[in-house]
Every structure is written in C-alpha cells, then in structure tokens.
C-alpha cells in the first residue's frame, strides 16, 4: 500500500479528482481500468472532456447485444429437444441430450464471439467490462445451466439492470432461469428448501461472509421456494412456496423472495459489498481500507443503491486515481486480448477454435468462470504456460492468418466476415510500412510511447532504436518493426495497466 492515499480522509477519498490532477497519466489510468486500453483517440477526447464527463458518457446506457443467430436457433429447437429428452427411449434421450449439449455449446461460442466483438469497440468497452464485472459477481456456470440460451438471457438480465438499482437487479437475477438451475432453486421445496441460492445470495452476491447467520440462510431459503423455470421462462409455483413466517436478520414475517432481498439491502454490509468487489475487479488485489468502503457504502445506500451512480462516483474519485493504484494491475486475459485488438486497431476474429481456445488457455473464457466465486484474478493469470499463450496471441495478431491451415467451417466463417467487409483481423502491412518509413529513433520513441508508455524516456527507447537499426541492415524495416512491436507487447509492462 502506498502512502499517498493514507493522506486522504474517508470522505475526501470519494470526492471528485481535483481538475489540477487530471493529466494524460490519469486519463490513461481511467481508460485502462474502466475499459481495455487507452487508444490515442479516446485518450485525447478524455483529456479534453475531463473525468466526470468521460465517465458519464461511458456509463450513459448499456449497448444492446442482439440475440446471436445460433442462440435464436437453439431457443427455436429447444422445445423439440426437451420433448425428445423427456419422452424418448433411453437411447433417444441420450442422443437428444447430446445434441442439445452440442448445439448449446456451439451457440455459446457464437454468443461469446458476438460479445467480444461488441466489447472490442472502444465506445462500448466500459459498459461491457461493467457487464463482465457483474457477471463475475452474479455468476452462473455453463455446465449446470445446460442451455446457453439461458446464459444469454441471464446476461440480458444483467445488461438491463446494469445501470439501475442493485436491489431491482438482485430481484431480477433471482428470477433468471440460469440462476434457478445453477443454484438449485428448481429443486427447492417447502419440505426441503435448497439453501444453495440463499447462501450464495448472502455470501457471494450481496453481503459477504460474516454478515449473516446459518439460520438466516435456512430461513431465506424458505422464502425462495416456488421459484421455478420452465423451458427458459420464470414461473412462480404458489403451491411450492412456503408462506409461513420466517425470521431473517432479526425480523419476522411471511417474507417472499423479493422481501428477503429488500431485507438484504437494509444491511450495512450491502452497501460495502459491491464497492469491495469493484475495487478487487478494477483497482487492486489488496482490499481497500474499511473506512473507505464504509464511507462509500453509506453514501451508496442513501442513493438507493443506484449502480450507475456508484460507477460514476467510484471512477471519478480521488481514491481511484491515487498513485498507489496506478499501473500495477495485471491485465486479465480478456483485457489483454481486447486491449491488443484496440491497440492494433483490429477486429475480433470470428474463429472460436483459435480465439476462444486462446482465452481458455490464458485462463479466462468469458462468462464461464471456474466456480461460483468467479475468477481469482491478479497473479493467478500469470505463469509460464499462460505467458506463452499471450505471446502466441501477439504473434497471431501480427502475422497474416494462415488460411490453408484452417478447417473448412473456419474458412466459411472467415469468408462470411470478409463478405461483410471486415478484413482487419491481423496487423496490415500498410500500417507497418507507414511506421517503417519513420527513422529508427523516432519509430522507437513512438512505439514505446504508444504501447509501453511507462517506459517512455528510459534507456529502452535507445535499445529499441538500436534494434530497429540492426534489423534494417539485414532486411526490410517492416520485419524489424514487427519484431520490435511483438517484443514490446510481450514485455512485463504491457501485461500491466
């Protein structure tokens, strides 16, 4: 923990950053933490607009993610598949079950790529990272949910509630068919209430450990009996609902699920929980001092748990910009990949095997965290194997696609993208040639400032220039430029933001 933020009092910490402290480094910090990187265009605009206006603009509204075609197909085919799974002979059931799983998986790849494409556009990056954050809190796991159509629906619930009240969002998520399946509300009955959802609601979604008792969980579980999903729609089964009195957080009444959520948000811990999660996701691996989160929590509760207001407050605050939180955060695989795409002005390639395979090997398949706790993050992203994949991703983005090595379906996907006029999946030679025309020293300086700005002005600039000069003696300046760029992107500095 640095010293500077200790000088800030708990109330001051959440005051807006003083205008005098708004500079390029601060703007870069804001863009890299709210989004995936800081492109020159976004950086220039943010510098002009100031932090408040920039954050307001980023968090105005969630963009739409139209239902991907394969998700729509899956929804259309599901009734028939369910019928076969429920009514067939054992062999037919097995067959239908497998078909359903395969179709669901393919559709999930489609959904994931469509999301990466949406999130990859700089103007959407802050909201889509916010969605990723919310999905890392309100986790559902693909395996148990079975249908990726439910995952799409779950994300849609998060998307629609992402900038509204956290209370309403919690209520909406408790009705998400994916959540109902994932945390076993479907099986919950008055005689045997399943505690899984109630437990995670308190522990991992809203309050955190130590802020409820085992009895609170048991009682709350009764309130959520009757929550069901049928073929992807929420239904409330009144006869499966326990209408009796429950005592939760010291209050007694015939509480419904929604009323339990209202009770949750009367707890002090509800105000501090999400800010703590935000700090962990966006800012630092070490927990924020309690006085800060308490101050923010009190304020947030007074604002009706408005998520948009929380985001604006958090990302414009003095604490967010404190020197201790600058530049030492390890980029998640998604941030690394989408940041690269933006830094190199590329489009997300619609090839699941290559793209999603790489994200998986780096440890972060979007919307598929390892368990209900979500991703651990931080240093857990980095080891010899994941660093090797990061390097391969860089190589892949800096070299033309070897179309001969693609499978047939991949060639079709790529041809479809080309037909739509999207061709910039890898760094194009013209851009490289443009760089290559600059003298080595100038080229080195602009590459370093652009991609590893924290090393700008160090001895490294001269090293890169020398590297480029040596390269030019041997072959085309483009090749040396490409190699220098690859190396800068592989460096420790580029893995941090």
């Amino acid at each position: 923990m640095g010293q500077s933020e200790n000088k800030i009092g708990a109330t001051e910490a959440w005051q807006p950053l003083p205008p005098a402290e708004w500079d390029e480094a601060a703007a870069r910090h804001l863009l890299q933490r709210t989004g995936f990187t800081a492109t020159p265009a976004e950086l220039a605009r943010a510098l002009r607009d100031g932090p408040a206006q920039t954050v307001e603009r980023y968090f105005t509204a969630m963009p739409a993610l139209p239902k991907p075609r394969q998700i729509a197909d899956l929804e259309a085919d599901s009734p028939e598949l369910f019928r076969r799974i429920n009514n067939g002979t054992p062999e037919e059931k097995r067959q239908a079950g497998q078909e359903a799983r395969e179709q669901s998986r393919e559709a999930q790849f489609d959904l994931t790529i469509k999301w990466l494409q949406l999130a990859g556009r700089p103007e959407n990056s802050a909201t889509e990272k916010w969605l990723l954050f919310l999905s890392d809190v309100w986790v559902v796991g693909g395996e148990k949910v079975r249908s990726s159509a439910f995952l799409y629906q779950h994300l849609d619930i998060l998307r629609r509630g992402a900038l509204g009240s956290a209370v309403s969002l919690a209520k909406a998520v408790s009705r998400s068919p994916a959540m109902i399946l994932y945390l076993d509300l479907q099986q919950s009955q008055p005689k045997a209430p399943n505690e899984n959802f109630a437990r995670e609601l308190f522990e991992l979604f809203t309050l955190g450990e130590g802020n409820y008792t085992e009895n609170d969980i048991k009682q709350a579980a009764r309130a959520f009996t009757g929550y069901r999903q049928r073929e992807g729609s929420f239904i409330f089964a009144p006869r499966q609902h326990d209408t009796g009195d429950k005592t939760i957080f010291g209050q007694t009444g015939p509480f419904s699920g929604d009323e339990v959520i209202d009770l949750v948000f009367q707890q002090k811990a509800a105000g501090t929980f999400l800010p703590k999660e935000m700090a962990r996701f966006y800012l630092t691996e070490s927990p924020l001092p309690a006085e800060y989160t308490e101050a923010l929590g009190n304020w947030w509760a007074g604002e009706g748990y408005d998520l948009r207001k929380l985001a604006v407050k958090f990302f414009t605050s003095r604490l967010f910009f404190a020197p201790a939180y600058r530049a030492g955060f390890i980029k998640s695989p998604i941030q690394f990949y989408l940041g690269l795409v933006q830094d190199l002005q590329l489009s997300v390639v619609p090839l699941p095997r290559q793209l999603l395979g790489a994200l998986r090997s780096m440890g972060q398949m979007p919307f598929d965290p390892p368990n209900v706790r979500g991703w651990v993050g931080g240093r857990s992203w980095i080891n010899s194997a994941t660093l090797a994949v990061r390097r391969q991703v860089i190589q892949a983005l800096l070299s033309p696609i070897n179309e001969g090595a693609l499978n047939g379906d991949e060639q079709i996907d790529l041809a479809a993208a080309y037909a739509d006029g999207v061709t910039n999946f890898t760094l194009d030679d013209a851009r490289l040639a443009e760089w290559a025309r600059l003298p080595a020293a100038e080229r080195a300086r602009s590459l370093v400032r652009r991609y590893v700005p924290d090393l700008a002005g160090t001895e490294l600039e001269r090293e890169v220039a020398a590297f480029l000069e040596r390269g030019a003696q041997r072959g085309p300046a483009e090749a040396a430029t490409r190699a220098a760029l690859a190396t800068l992107l592989e460096s420790p500095s580029y893995q941090l933001c």
Partner: protein, 415 residues
C-alpha cells in the same frame, strides 16, 4: 549479441552466480526465480536424462483414416469411395488387406523395419463431429458427454512432476501455434512453447535480447506485480535462451525435409539430444480437414508426416536415443467413409493412429473397422483412445494411468 552487460545467463548455474554478484534480477526483485524456490523443497528428482520420452503428433483437422491405412481388399472401400478410392498400384502394401497411402513411402519403410505400429479404428463412444469439441475430448481424455478442465498430459504432470525436472527444464514442450489443451493441469508446472518450424534463430535471439532488456528496465511504477511478472518471464527466458542455444548449435546427419513440420521435429530431436529433462513433446501438423478435392492434398500431408517422422527416427538412431523415444499421432476424428460430392470427405469418427519407435511392437494392432456401412453412415470404433493413452502412460511413461484417466483400460500390445 553485443551488449553482454544485459545478457541473461543461459544456464541456471550462471544465473545463480549472477544473482550472487548482485547484478542479476535478484538484486532488484524480491521474488526468487521459481527454479530456486522449487529446488529448495522438491524431493531430489530422479535422474531424468535416460527416461522414456513421449512425442505426441497432432494431425489437426481430422485425418481421413480410410485413405491413410487403406483396406484395399474390402469391396466396400471402392463402393464408399468411387472417385477417392486409391488405385491398388499406387498403394504401399502392409499385408494382403491393408496398405498405406502412396504418400507414406518413408513410413512404409519404417513399418518394414519393425519401427512403425498402427492402432486401427480408434475412437470413443457417442462421437462428436465438431473439431473444437472432439479435439477437446481427445486432449482432455474425457467421455463425449463430460467436460474436463485439465488435459491428459496435464494430469500426468500433476501426478508425475512433483518438483521441477532436473535443471529446471519444462515438464512439457509444445511446438504448435496454440498451447495444447492436453497440457492444462490443475497445479502449475513449467511448460514451454516453441514456434513451429525450424529454429527461427536469429530474429528470435534478437527479440529475446530486447525482451531481456525490457525485463531489466523497471517502469515508473515498479511494484509487487511487476516484480512477479519479471520473475516469471525471466524464468521463461532462461529456458528459451538455453533452448535457442541448443537448437542453434544442433548438428545432425539426418536428412530433414524443408517443411515446418520436419523443422519442428528436428527441434525436438535437438532438445532430446541435449539431455533436456522434458519427457513430453507435442508437435502439431494442420490441414487435414479435407472437404474437397482431397486426393493430392491428403497425400502431400501424409508425405510431410511420413518424411518428417522418418528423418526424426533416423536422427534419434544416429544419436542412439531411439530407444528412449515413442512417437504417437492422433487426430480429433476420422472422416466419413462415403466420399462427398466435392471429392472430399466430411467429418467422421474413428481412425487409425501411428506409433513409432525402436521399442514398439510394429504391425497392425486392434481390429479394422467394419466397412459394411450405409451411405453416410459412420464407422464404429473398436479401440477406445483412452486405452491407447493408458498403454502409453502405464507401459511407457511409467505412471499409473487410472489416476489420470479415471478408469482402467485394457492395455494394447504396441509396447
């Protein structure tokens, strides 16, 4: 390289000396490199140098088994393959019923020399025809309705690689554009990836030198995470430099063809010959998704495979290392027995795979597929791929396979 002041030591010993003088990374990072930490607590690893080694060759895209090991005597073959059926006089006969594709001259010789084995009709129940999913099934050794987060070799590392191998060498080395899912493990193990093809030597050495420079240049915000990244990257760089040196200096009389695949195998041979403690290598050859006009494409791919493997085997024999190495191919699926309308074949199910080495039992193993299938019907596998893995794990790598595969499989006779 000039500029020796910035050069990383290329061996662990040098590194330690460097560190002791206070000029290395240890001077400014509070993170000791992994090999130091690990060597402090790992049980003394047994000498690794003369242990058995597995080289896994992925034929990506789905290799057409029926035109690889051709059942020329079965009339069904001509029925299913009216235009793609290979003329008998172009085939390389293995016996009275089966022959290798004409592209496999070098492998045919290996077969005759008793060094090449063929496991026939390998697959799994309820086959999946998606490249992505079926590759995943093969790499994680799962059932087709089961999703495993780790690969079969990763689980082997978990079970067999308690400490870092001797000299801090990686447990597994992949030479492919993607880190194979086979290597994903529950615990962390040093693994290493080399770019495909022969040594990309000079350019990469220069990149490495620059990267070292970067690792040594603290940014303005140097902190714990930066230190951690530097240390992890240093570790990888030390390995890579060592490997670069090995690959750059490698001498061999073997006649490797100029293909990237052969170059990759040459690199594997170089690392093995240098006494690297790594026991698993993974090399990928792509392009097997032959949906149209496949005859020449497929024969060329098999020729690449065949000539690469033959040169690799000859190289190992010359170095007297052939007794230590088992090479095995796999592909995510075979192709449909019936050819399609574009003189190609669509995704199918079971297919043969090859095992190569001086210690293997050559010949045909398992049973051939039944070709009495309707148009567009798929083959039914007769050997489970996990039985192949279990044979390799138990009888070659000396690691109990049930711990890795979660079940016992009847060993096959190829070792």
């Amino acid at each position: 390289m000039k500029n020796p002041a910035h050069l990383l030591p290329s061996t662990r010993r040098e590194f330690l000396q460097y560190g002791a003088k206070g000029v290395g990374l240890l001077a400014f990072s509070r993170f000791a490199p992994g090999f130091l930490v690990e060597s402090a607590y790992a049980q003394a690893p047994a000498p690794e140098k003369d242990r058995t080694i597995l080289v896994l060759v992925q034929l990506a895209g789905g290799n057409d088994g029926l035109n690889t090991v051709v059942p020329f005597a079965d009339p069904n073959y001509r029925r299913l393959r009216p235009t793609l059926g290979l003329p008998e006089d172009q085939l390389l006969k293995l016996d009275d019923s089966f022959a290798l594709n004409g592209g496999c001259i070098a492998m045919h010789q290996l077969f005759k020399d008793g060094k090449l084995g063929i496991v026939q009709n390998v697959g799994y129940p309820n086959p999946n025809r998606s490249h992505f999913r079926s590759t995943e099934i093969w790499e994680t050794a799962s059932a087709s309705n089961e999703f495993l987060p780790t690969g079969w070799l990763g689980r082997y590392f978990d079970n067999a690689c308690g400490g870092t191998p001797e000299g801090g060498d990686p447990c597994g080395v992949s030479i492919s554009n993607e880190v194979p899912q086979s290597f994903l493990s529950e615990h962390q193990h040093p693994t290493f990836s080399l770019a495909a093809g022969r040594n990309n030597g000079r350019q990469r050495s220069e990149n490495l030198a620059l990267l070292e420079q970067m690792v040594h240049t603290p940014g303005v915000h140097d902190d714990d995470n930066a230190g951690y990244l530097r240390h992890t990257m240093m570790d990888a760089l030390v390995t890579e430099k060592k490997f670069q040196k090995v690959l750059g200096n490698y001498q061999t009389k073997a006649n490797y063809p100029g293909t990237p695949f052969a170059g990759s195998l040459r690199n594997v041979a170089a690392l093995i010959a240098a006494g690297t403690a790594t026991r698993v290598y993974y090399v990928s050859l792509g392009g097997f998704d032959t949906h149209n006009n496949q005859v020449n494409t497929h024969a060329n791919l098999l020729k690449q495979l065949s000539e690469g493997l033959a040169a690799f085997q000859a190289d190992l024999e010359e170095k007297k290392l052939d007794g230590q190495v088992l090479t095995m191919t796999f592909s995510e699926f075979g192709r449909r027995p019936s050819e399609n309308e574009s003189r190609g074949t669509d995704h199918g199910t079971a297919a043969p795979l090859f095992v190569l080495g001086s210690k293997i039992k050559s010949g045909l193993h398992g049973t051939a597929p039944n070709l009495d299938v309707a148009r567009n019907q798929d083959l039914t596998y007769t050997t489970d791929f996990r039985a192949v893995y279990s044979t390799v794990l138990d009888q070659w790598l000396g690691c109990k396979s049930s711990a890795i595969l979660g079940a016992d499989y009847k060993p096959l006779g190829f070792i």
